[in-house]
Symmetry: D2
Subunit: 420 residues, 4 copies
């Protein structure tokens, strides 16, 4: 048990992080016009104003309503309207219809955020120790939605024939690509899962033993240029490279290249958050589904790593990058010694060949928050590492992201692996 002083200090830190993270969400929206907040271009993506409201709803529902005496919700209808999928809270408004709602307006949603923030500040000043974890969860939840704001917005702007840009100049100029090498790992009996002292999602626990055969991992992610070779070699026309379901999906949807790639007059372009840009061959390929990642790996005579291999490799490499004092993560540059792993964290989500399933001994959180992760453990694949859109302080070696194998609108790419 911590002393009062320590708890005050913890609370001060939490309050500080609360303000920092909530503000960061709104800063992401600074370049938007009102209309950009409203649209929903596919069922999997949500309107930006929904993200702004839902993250506030999370604090209202799991912190303020049960724990702040006298808290008055701003609007009773918001309970259902901004409930994502928590059956314990009631019947959520249907996800595919989130874009049908003009009201509450963007301004009203910001007022909702302010209403929640004001109450949270009151509570955070004298937060009972037991509430720390749920506030922490709420902040990590908000960070997840920060990334979704960018991916959902990108999708909505990209389907617009005007191809509007979110920022003027967001495209990174990639340096020369690191020479591709494979780094060998001896495998054996090892451990995986979170073991730090800070925050982790329930799905990263418990830490447990796994046995690995010797394997090799590529020292960097697959680049756009390399993936272009696959495209041009007819990879999208070669059923023998694809999983059966992947081939069906790719044919049905007419996939010919990663999402957002377009060919004009023989040249390849790519929609980015800074608008249409010539394809940067040096940068990591993004916006590929598991099926495409898997087909690419097969074409190269390689395979995707398992999440255990990936985590083992990441955990045993001392030079992935630097976690700074404020939690910010500075990735190791993609240039450097060829026998070390680059781009493991914070560049691109890397598909693994592991299904998203509970770790041995897994227990979901108790209460309504038990719906956070566990109930989605079916028909999804694990991605590791974090992308350029992931908040730096949200990145962890043990972090398990997950999406269905046909999802393409995330910053998802791959790194090759092979048996020794």
């Amino acid at each position: 048990m911590s002393t009062t002083t320590e708890r005050d200090c913890d609370n001060a830190n939490l309050l500080d992080r609360y303000l920092h993270i909530r503000l960061a969400t709104e800063r992401l929206c600074a370049p938007l016009v009102t209309e950009d907040y409203v649209v929903q271009a596919m069922p999997d993506a949500s309107p930006i104003k929904w993200h702004l409201a839902h993250t506030s709803w999370f604090f209202e529902t799991f912190v303020l309503r049960p724990h702040l005496v006298g808290y008055m919700p701003l609007h009773e209808a918001y309970e259902a309207l901004f409930n994502s999928y928590y059956n314990s809270i009631g019947t959520p408004f249907p996800r595919p219809e989130r874009g049908h709602l003009s009201r509450p307006t963007v301004a009203e949603v910001y007022a909702y955020r302010a209403h929640v923030d004001k109450a949270m500040l009151t509570l955070l000043e004298r937060l009972p120790e037991s509430l720390g974890p749920v506030v922490d969860l709420g902040l990590n939840h908000e960070q997840q939605h920060q990334e979704l704001i960018l991916t959902d917005l990108k999708y909505a702007l990209a389907v617009n024939p005007l191809r509007p840009a979110y920022v003027e100049n967001g495209a990174r100029t990639e340096g020369p690509t690191l020479q591709l090498n494979f780094v060998a790992f001896a495998g054996g009996l090892t451990e995986m899962g979170f073991d730090g002292s800070g925050f982790a999602f329930d799905n990263e626990l418990p830490r447990h033993r796994v046995y690995l055969r010797p394997f090799q991992l590529a020292n960097r992610a697959v680049t756009n240029g390399e993936f272009l070779q696959f495209v041009e070699a007819g990879g999208y026309q070669s059923w023998e490279l694809w999983l059966s379901e992947g081939w069906r999906v790719s044919q049905e949807r007419g996939w010919q290249a990663p999402l957002y790639w377009e060919q004009h007059d023989g040249a390849w372009w790519r929609y980015t958050l800074a608008g249409m840009r010539p394809l940067e061959t040096q940068g990591p390929v993004t916006h590929v589904s598991y099926y495409e990642a898997d087909a690419y790996a097969r074409w190269r005579g390689k395979r995707l790593p398992t999440e255990a291999e990936w985590e083992h490799a990441a955990a045993t490499q001392p030079t992935l990058g630097t976690f700074l004092d404020d939690g910010w993560y500075e990735p190791r540059p993609a240039t450097g010694p060829d026998n070390a792993l680059a781009q493991m964290l914070g560049d691109v989500w890397e598909w693994t060949q592991s299904a998203y399933l509970p770790y041995p001994g897994f227990h979901p959180l108790s209460g309504g928050l038990g719906e956070y992760n566990g109930k989605f453990m079916m028909n999804q694949m694990v991605l590791r590492g974090g992308s350029c859109a992931t908040p730096r302080s949200h990145i962890r070696v043990s972090y398990r992201n997950f999406f269905p194998p046909d999802a393409r609108w995330q910053f998802s790419g791959l790194r090759l692996a092979e048996d020794c």
Copy 2:
């Protein structure tokens, strides 16, 4: 051929009408917030900003581009983006995805309107005589979209759990309902179709002979109160009252009452453009599909009129209301002599049992405008009379509105008929 002076006068009138009608469209939008312009709550409805742009696109495409020397379109992408269904103009942006577009913004759409208006004013000052009809068509087209703006907006606001109002106080207070009577018509050989000197759509032509058996027509529209009796008598649970396809549709969609009706604690409410209101039993029932109108009539032992019967009755009644000098139409009040027809024009669109098919001798307009009406003559039913949302100067006895038999989001109701 008209003299120069007459033509100048005509042009002045046309210019005046142009300004009047274009302004009326924008006035309809005055109560909206930006977000209201963006959403599309079902494929059949369009975002309000799409209506604003599409009506401008019509003038740009069919008047300005071909006929105003030196006209510069504001944005090349708008040609496809705001094309509704004219294959002759190119491939339209897919209708169900109109609500996926945040850009152009509402402000940009208004700028587009201003751009078109400015060019139109230049042209209208010295309009070649031959262009009068196409400008007239554009204005009537814009008036059609004025009604669609209200119906599409109503739909989008109604699906919102907040049930926001468009106007503070738009609900009419209905006086006491006229006693229901049937007015007899002898039938015989008569004529139908437009024969005036002003504007008419191609589908109202040519005027032609039809033979009618003796029939009777109700002196007013069916009211909410009468339709409520059908609801409460189990009309929605009685397959024997319904067309086969109507029964299938009503079961599949779970229809239990007209669109926008809701029952709370035993009392019936209705969403209106002024928000949720207790059901006004005196007013005409609206937002029923053909299937519901037809089932209601069968339940009463009556039937729907044919469009020939409806037009014949309307054309031979001197007291439907008054067309004022400015084209404005003042409907005959629903109170008055019981043996005369009330509510024929401007109260509610009345489903007829006539399929929307070409009149004998019909010829569509030539060129791209030939796509305006003719190609939709299949699987739709004719409605007559105009609703409370129809611009008054747009109402005509020979006017043929048409919608698929399952459509409910228009102000559509019915009037009973029977054989003599």
Copy 3:
């Protein structure tokens, strides 16, 4: 009221017709193997054994159960299993799943027929006068299913890559095509609808007056050779020839020619009930939807006739063919004087531009049989004339066949019309 003797005579005739028609149904099935009776290749078509059973069910349900004292149904489950769409009888087994049923077997279905026939013979020997019309309806119903047996079977055999033949040599050798001419009709006030003394469906009644403008009707049906010109001229790629809904459907389903046409090495073939045959250019085009018929007519600068025009023309031509004493109809040969109408009856169902709607004063049959026709009067178009697959004694000038405008598996073609 008829005397006993007359009634006995009527009954003898009815019994004779009963035996003749029931036997004719089974003779149609003589060439089938057991497996052919079972399959259902699309929801609109039914397994042949279902037709055999359903036509028996009709007599059992509407004649035997209510009127034959002591009648014992063969199997209680058949009431629902072979109910097509009569809600008054109970909940029918779902239509699209009729092909999922291996039992009752074909032999059991024939036993069901025998069981019903035996009881019907008992009843027919002393049939109450009032039952004559319903037996007559049952026989006409069975004749309708005789045609459906052929069209449904043809569809099922045609989708089979083996393209098996139903009969060895069923393809007619067409003589030289009659020179195309248009026969003029003055129109005016005329009558349509059944007025004979024999059997007619309720939808052919009442006879009523219509007014027709002068029109011309082609002296014969459109041929395969003529329709091939449309195909080769790019008719299926020319949106401007099509109704909006027709264009959508044709694109979605990839229509490039009439159903059953196939091109091999540049030559056109057609699946017929006698297997694959080179396209007979002289024969009437069949298996086109309303949309294709309509597009073809537009391409030729003509139109489809209305059903009133068609019936008026047929009724006023003395030489359509000969109705023999036994009710058998002998069509007028397609060769003959050019100014007379050929192929009006018994060659091919001809799409008209008339929606299938009730005649003025229409009343459906009372009781459960009221579901026979009236409830389908929506989103269907009328066809006239009868096809090569229609039983000869089933053909009538006033006969109204009807199918949705996208239906192609019937022997449906067209005849051109135009205004004078």
Copy 4:
């Protein structure tokens, strides 16, 4: 390398097995009428005659065509018609339409089998050593289809309102259920995957190390009676017990109990291959999806085992049953010492919580047969143990069966597990 004599002996054995297994397939069909061979009641199930033909096609395609000089296929069209999913062989006839084909007839399919058998016998008399594995694969393939013949047939008979029986008396009389106990396993580093000398599918290889935490496994499968408690306790109405996707599916399809269960007058019945029977509470529950199995386990406070746990437990139990000399397997009776595992093999397929993914170091077969297993490793879950419908000689401890988590038409049940 084996000597000629040994090979002759192997071939004799293989020939003997070939005849035995091919005959067993046809014996399964002995109770069928012709119609039963034809129908396809859902896309996942195939007509019985398709199974008979496809298993023959397998030998024709992978053995006879490439390896028997002078082999003449019976019909060229069969290559596509009976290809299940091998893109390397060409474009298969669409799976959901297999039930649309009346031809080839059942007799023709048996003739096809005879044609293939005759050629196989010729080949098997002097079979090159290298072909042994592919013939062996073909026989195991045929055994898989033997089970599918039973499950697909059961589905087709069960959807038939007549609920016809396949056999007169096939329902086992279950003895008293073994008392439920949990058997503890210490876990640790162990091995899994096939290591015998006989046949195994590629997906059972390579044998590899895994690390297991201590766990307990139920000594028998969950019974109908136990599952009935879940049904009656509202398990199908309790979202909190279900995976998110499972809840969605169960709601959408209206699941209220396992497939084939029906409640009549308060009593539970179950369709079996011997027709409708009162629910045998003692027998293992079958025909539950992964979602239902998983929800049941959660309701009991337990979980499903992983496939590694299952295989480890099975492999280390000496008394699962007896593999007789002829490969036939005699399961250990469900009565016996409570601390030993019963019903592990040959009673019911048991869902595991392991996704169907490649083992570390997995390599699919080369050539066209590489499509056999590997390309389906996505969105499926592993089942272990074999069911009452699995041929006894086809059962193996390392055998990996797999189905999508919503599949219910297999004999699929579950066994509980828990952490120590």
